[in-house]
């Protein structure tokens, strides 16, 4: 149920974010979604990519420091209170959300959100118990092609 996310370290200065994008483009690798967290000095670029193993390889060859982290992608009702409902489930379990960001595409009439939990397995179980649709890799990559 978990999705592999690629993250990489970037210095916070002009032109830095375009470098990894160029590397991926050259290798014909598509980015499904991304998020950028930054401080004054540095940033962390997080990418969801179907061919994450290939992406990791080409980025590392280009000299970037790349980590792979497991994240959870869930469907969220695209209406007021949709996200709040998910968060409530997580909160009740005492699970911590390290960070979250949204996908650019939808799953039917629902939005898709990526979560980085401190206890991903526990979170998945809680979400599934409450009937929330957690997407696995295959489902996710299919949706992205629709």
């Amino acid at each position: 149920m978990k999705i592999n996310q690629i993250s990489m370290f970037l210095e916070n200065k002009p032109g830095r974010i375009s470098e990894p994008c160029k590397v991926l483009a050259k290798n014909n690798i598509n980015i499904l979604t991304l998020s950028l967290a930054d401080t004054q000095q540095f940033g962390i670029l997080r990418l969801i990519i179907k061919e994450w193993e290939k992406a990791k390889k080409v980025l590392e060859e280009a000299g970037f420091v790349v980590n792979v982290t497991e994240v959870v992608a869930t469907e969220v009702e695209d209406k007021p209170g949709g996200l709040a409902k998910i968060l409530e489930i997580i909160e009740q379990e005492g699970i911590n959300i390290e960070y979250m960001y949204a996908f650019t595409f939808r799953s039917g009439d629902k939005a898709v959100i990526v979560f980085r939990f401190d206890e991903p397995d526990k979170a998945i179980k809680a979400l599934l118990d409450k009937g929330v649709n957690v997407l696995n890799g295959v489902q996710l990559y299919e949706k992205s092609n629709q």
Binding site: M8, A37, N67
Partner: protein, 443 residues
């Protein structure tokens, strides 16, 4: 009195009479003191005896001042290896003061003084102050750090010995420094040159016109500074700025001082015998050529030092000084033969930074030390290349790591530094080895 010894451009004070001795008398004093010191060091300090024995010599082999060439060199690691008291030549009953300066491994270098040593130190410092034109009646604001660092107490005792009025304000609290400078009609300031440029800037912000104050002399040392900086200080504060040289291993400040001519620093060579050697061959360089300054203490009791390699690069002036002093002069020191650098008066070795980084990560990352000067204050920034092991997808983790590095460095060198994580392969390497220090300070 005795005005025929000099051209009137310098102040004569009986305390500095020895600096005007004809050369042959000075050599006699030096040789006599050297003999006594070597004998004492040989008898009292096992390391000195051992090094002399390795060369098959005894103090009796020293038959002239030139024979100092026969003696072995000593280096900073000798102090570290004998930490803390291994080089003391006096029993603790006769030692009345200990000082310490930063060492290469976090352990300080310890130095000791007998009562007589302290008196000599006060005497050479008083002579230094005279050389810069300080007199009784002057009010001396001593903004060198008081404590284990030799700067504060060295100037303090010297100014008192001369009979000037000392304000033992120590370093820091710039606003108060400026207030006291103004309110107490201070005429002499002693501090690091970079700190004084900070005072100049702050005074400007506070609307205090240093040029209009009675301040007339500044004595600056403990770090290298340039002629450009001297011009700036003299212009902005309307004072005469003098360079002072010294190192804890020899005595502290008081080893060398500029005179009114400000063409090199006179070595107080009746107490500290200077040589300049080629750091590669260890042979003396031809007179006037550049090399590493080597110093031998001629009178120190508690902790004699034989041919101590200072790592400071300088050269002797060939001509006698116009001020009339017969003591030899060295060129203002601008660089060192090793990679040590001085920041805010603190000696720092890249190896110290390296061991601090090692303690955090378990391996040494690629790093670079960048020294800059911001509003007159030295800043140290450490760039660290992020490795796979360090990297986390969480901002908080990386910020925590930065802070861990900064704290480890602070524990080692006692300085707060900026740590900046950078992308891999962004620190230039030459022949596989990273350039460790980028000094962008304009001195």
């Amino acid at each position: 009195m005795v005005s025929y010894w000099h051209d009137g451009s310098s102040i004569f004070n009986p305390i500095s009479a020895v600096e005007y001795l004809p050369e042959e008398y000075l050599i006699k004093i030096q040789f006599h003191r050297l003999k006594v010191m070597i004998k004492r060091a040989y008898e009292k300090v096992p390391l000195f005896r051992q090094r002399l024995e390795e060369r098959n010599i005894t103090p009796d082999n020293i038959k002239s001042l030139e024979d100092i060439n026969l003696l072995p060199f000593f280096v900073k690691t000798d102090l570290r290896d004998t930490y803390p008291f291994g080089l003391f030549a006096s029993p603790m009953e006769e030692i009345i003061r200990l000082h310490a300066s930063s060492g290469t491994t976090g352990k300080p270098i310890v130095v000791a003084y007998t009562k007589e040593d302290i008196e000599i130190w006060a005497d050479v410092m008083a002579r230094c102050l005279v050389s810069c034109g300080v007199e009784r009646g002057d009010i001396v604001q001593n903004a060198y750090g008081y404590g284990l660092f030799t700067g504060g107490l060295g100037f303090h005792y010297g100014a008192e010995a001369l009979g000037a009025t000392v304000i033992p304000i120590s370093g820091g609290n710039t606003d108060r420094q400026i207030m006291i400078m103004k309110d107490f009609n201070v005429t002499v300031i002693c501090c690091t040159p970079s700190y004084f440029t900070h005072i100049i800037e702050r005074a400007g912000e506070l609307g205090v016109d240093l040029k209009s104050l009675p301040l007339r002399i500044g004595i600056f040392g403990a770090e290298p500074w340039s002629e450009g900086m001297r011009e700036y200080i003299q212009r902005e504060a309307n004072i005469e700025a003098y360079d002072v040289y010294g190192l804890s291993e020899i005595i502290g400040p008081g080893v060398g001082i500029e005179c009114k001519c400000r063409e090199g620093l006179h070595i107080l060579e009746d107490h500290f015998y200077p040589e300049i050697i080629d750091p590669e061959t260890l042979q003396p360089v031809p007179e006037g050529e550049e090399g590493e300054l080597v110093l031998t203490t001629l009178s120190k009791k508690a902790m004699p030092m034989i041919r101590y390699r200072t790592r400071d690069i300088t050269a002797f002036y060939k001509e006698k000084c116009k001020c009339g002093r017969t003591t030899r002069r060295i060129r203002k020191i601008s660089r060192r033969s090793d990679d040590m650098f001085i920041i805010r008066g603190v000696n720092v070795y890249p190896s110290q930074i390296e061991s601090a980084l090692l303690s955090v990560e378990g391996s040494t990352p690629h790093y670079q030390i960048r020294l800059t000067r911001d509003h007159g204050l030295d800043q140290m920034e450490i760039l660290i290349e992020v490795t796979k092991e360090m990297f986390s997808d969480r901002i908080g983790e990386l910020e925590k790591l930065q802070e861990k590095f900064a704290q480890a460095i602070e524990r080692t060198v006692n300085l707060r530094v900026n740590v900046r994580l950078v992308e891999p392969h962004t620190i230039p390497r030459s022949e596989g080895k990273a350039k460790r220090i980028i000094d962008e300070r304009k001195i």
